[in-house]
């Protein structure tokens, strides 16, 4: 079960990864169509490196969501233990 914030982050991550893959494909297409080496290199930067950056940031967002869920669970455990302590010794 994911909360709305997580869902937004996951959507953004998936969009970025998709955009990165698209950039790689378009970059490859551009390189194939350009006749001169000097005309091909800009596609390496925009499509190749740009695509890699987009995919990397997208994957980073997706993995961050999983870590966030883990943190929420740990926070819930900490809160439950603290509550238990308070019930056991209300003056503490």
């Amino acid at each position: 079960m994911t909360n709305p914030g997580d869902r937004r982050t996951i959507t953004a991550g998936l969009l970025l990864v998709s955009a990165g893959v698209l950039a790689l494909l378009l970059g490859g297409l551009g390189i194939a169509r350009a006749a001169l080496l000097s005309a091909q290199i800009p596609y390496v930067v925009s499509g190749g490196i740009g695509g890699l950056v987009l995919i990397g940031v997208g994957l980073h967002l997706l993995s961050g969501t999983a870590l966030g869920r883990e943190r929420d669970r740990l926070a819930a455990v900490a809160a439950a233990i603290a509550l238990q302590r308070l019930r056991r010794s209300p003056r503490a």
């Binding site: 080496l37 290199i41 950056v53 302590r85």
Partner: protein, 246 residues
């Protein structure tokens, strides 16, 4: 203002990481402009070595810092749990910049030294590629730069993997007893004839409770609970976040 400063101090890793990613994106756009405006291949390769690889380096370090921040948060929460389990004074839940007992003080400086070394290799690659009309020489410089970037990626990945490994070990030490898989629970008079229900088919509920639990959840030790088939869960009950019931 003081709140903002203390927030910045507590979240310096995430703020720096996000800033590095943004700077990397800007550097990439500037590099593209520069490469697109140049007609000389050797010049273009030199620009890629500095701007392109530099942008990738910035983005990679930014992501590493942000993930490090996530791990640090988990350490801090484990500190709170350990303090509670040992009956020590609880750390203030609102204190964002409470120090965590992780080994970040040693891990981050070591990673920084290695990242600086890889940045120096990228710079050496640029030096080789720059100010030369020779394409072969420029390609060699690019290869040196890529090697430097590869080293940076390895350092970042190793730092995060070691951090995650230590965190998993501490989690296991602290919470291992509670995280064991739940035992199958027999319910009803005719249970012997029916197949034993498993944790996936049974949920634990308590009177006037708003959440349902899995078998083995620590909450079950504090109150009166009964197990019921998952299919018969009352509408409106939410899953417990401690045991991760679903």
């Amino acid at each position: 203002m003081r709140d903002a400063l203390s927030w910045l101090r507590a979240q310096w890793d995430r703020v720096t990481g996000t800033a590095l990613i943004a700077v990397g994106a800007v550097v990439l756009v500037v590099t593209f402009q520069s490469v697109a405006n140049s007609r000389f291949v050797a010049d273009q390769i030199a620009t890629i070595t500095s701007g392109g690889l530099g942008a990738l380096f910035l983005v990679a370090v930014g992501m590493m810092l942000r993930l490090e921040g996530d791990l640090h948060d988990e350490w801090r929460k484990l500190d709170r749990i350990e303090a509670a389990l040992r009956d020590e004074a609880l750390l203030d839940i609102e204190t964002l910049d409470a120090p965590a007992h992780d080994d970040r003080g040693r891990a981050l400086p070591a990673a920084t030294v290695h990242l600086m070394a890889s940045l120096a290799i990228i710079a050496a690659g640029y030096q080789k590629a720059a100010n030369s009309a020779d394409v072969d020489r420029a390609v060699t410089g690019l290869a040196v730069g890529v090697a430097g970037l590869g080293l940076a990626a390895l350092v970042g990945a190793a730092t995060l993997l070691v951090g995650r490994g230590r965190l998993a070990g501490r989690k296991q030490c602290l919470l291992g007893g509670w995280l064991r898989p739940a035992e199958p629970v027999a319910v009803g008079v005719g249970a012997a004839a029916a197949p034993l229900p498993t944790a996936a088919t049974v949920a634990w509920v308590g009177a006037e409770m708003t959440r349902f639990h899995r078998g083995g959840c620590p909450t079950l030790a504090h109150g009166s609970f009964r197990s019921i088939p998952r299919a018969e869960l009352p509408v409106g009950l939410r899953p417990c976040q401690i045991c991760g019931a679903r």
